[in-house]
């Protein structure tokens, strides 16, 4: 198959493409899921980011 005689090699070739397709399908199915608008979460994130910026400044 595909000019590759060893099944364990062509299956890796096909599986690597299949895994990428799995990622695409997962990304599309969940494209709009997981958005966080909760006020408390945004406040927590803001605290985290301000601390992160301080660390980056130090670098």
């Amino acid at each position: 198959m595909l000019g590759i005689p060893d099944a364990s090699i062509w299956s890796a070739y096909v599986l690597s493409i299949a895994c990428a397709i799995l990622c695409v399908v997962y990304g599309l199915l969940n494209w709009k899921r997981g958005m966080e608008n909760d006020e408390q979460q945004i406040i927590e994130e803001r605290v985290w980011e301000s601390q992160e910026r301080e660390i980056e400044e130090s670098l």
């Binding site: 060893d6 090699i9 803001r46 660390i55």
Partner: protein
Amino acid sequence: MLITILVTLVYLFIVAYLGYVGFRQTKSSKDYLVAGRQVHPLVMALSYGGTFISTSAIVGFGGAAGTLGMGLLWLTVLNIFFGIFIAFVVFGKRTRKMGHNLDAHTFPELLGLRFNSKFLQGFAGVIIFLFMPIYTAAVIKGGTDFIESYFQIPYDVALFFFVIIVALYVWMGGLKGVMYTDAFQASIMFIGMVVLLIFTYVQLGGIVSAHQQLTDMFGDENVRQQTGKLIAGGFQGWTSMPVAGSPIWWNLVTTIVLGVGIGVLAQPQLVVRFMTVKSNMELNRAVLSGGIFILAMTGIAFVVGALTNVFFYKSAGKIAFVAAGANDSIIPVYIKTFIPPWFGTVFLLTLLAAAMSTISSQFHTMGTAAGRDIYEKALGQKGNSLFITRSGVLVGVLLSAVLALLAKRLDVSMAIIATGTALFFGLCASSFLPAYLGALYCKNMPKAAALWGMICGFITGAFWIFFIHEKESSSLQLVKALTGKTSLVKDTSFARLAMVDPLLIALPVSVVVTLLVWITYVMLKKSDMDVNHIERCFKGV
């Protein structure tokens, strides 16, 4: 040459400009959180890819595919499935939420705060600070090998220029992880690799024809003579897996495929990326482009790496390893010899982009490991942490450069870049993976279980690297200085163990110790974690 230098300078200017614009945007924005939410998901996802993939993957592992064949594609499968899908879906979302709950900013800090242990944070920081330079050196060597071959200049000179460019990038603010810069670099990498694949397949008459030529090559008597040593080690051609249980099989399957494929789950510089995203939505979307990006990077590097044999053999009657002179030189010499000069310049930029986006995150991780994890948190010191952090970066730069210089003196047949990368990835998985998984999913896991699992995993892994696994122990020389042998088990009835990668021994040890301590705590009805603290960790997870 002049055009190449000019194009490189233009590229560096664009990188610096994007860094400056991105930095100003976040600085001037009153609410950078909202500003961040408006960034296009593709920009966000590409910036991940830039951190994931380095010159190590393209030059080092591409070269390994040139020698060992397309069996490396199993690493692409693992890279996409574990490195993207499992990492983002299973680890990423919980890491992000728990990191925010605990206000953790580094991987050791996440583990340290989760298990309420400064020692754990410091210990993880020391492991990272001591061993990450090996991985960074592998990335630097990947870029240097290309510059050496492409410009036909000595390795030492190429290394000097490459480190200068990287240092300039770091000095210009490359450590600030500006998303647009990373995304720009990832775009260049993507275009460069896709063009490389198309060119290679077209030149060989298409996908099936190219693979068939590579398969047929191995039947040639002359090729069999050139691959005599490899055949003795279990090699069966570039489109076949090595003989199961042979030295090459152990190297390919345990070190390259499993070591890096599983090790990616506990990479400190990647774990931190999960915490910087705004919501789980970005993680979901990043899975999409991340999967395609990793396929385009590692998949192409491994396929093209193997196919270089057809080009070299048709033109010079030599297999890739013999024609290029070293495993890590296969991709650079292929680009130099068979690819149009204009693409050589594009590929140089591809490698610069791949190196800089990864190296910047490595220096970031080494600096924070020294300043925040070890000095500030584990040692409880205050005042000079800024100095220590910056010194940590400087020491990291110098140590990595020295290691990259020394790496040139190693045996050229041993896939130095791939081995160095696999060493760090494997050590991270052995030390951190059980504790990391337990931290995210097991509320009742005791601190002692995480700590002892990490300590035993690290000690076993380091012992195996320095004293047993011959591929590494023979280069590190410590066992030779002490015993005169390249591995403790050499010439004994356990000699086969010298082929087994440290990950295969150290990770199970780490898992077993973690479970044993945990079971002991359950049987004794002991607990070393505060219930309120656990609730805080898992709030909203």
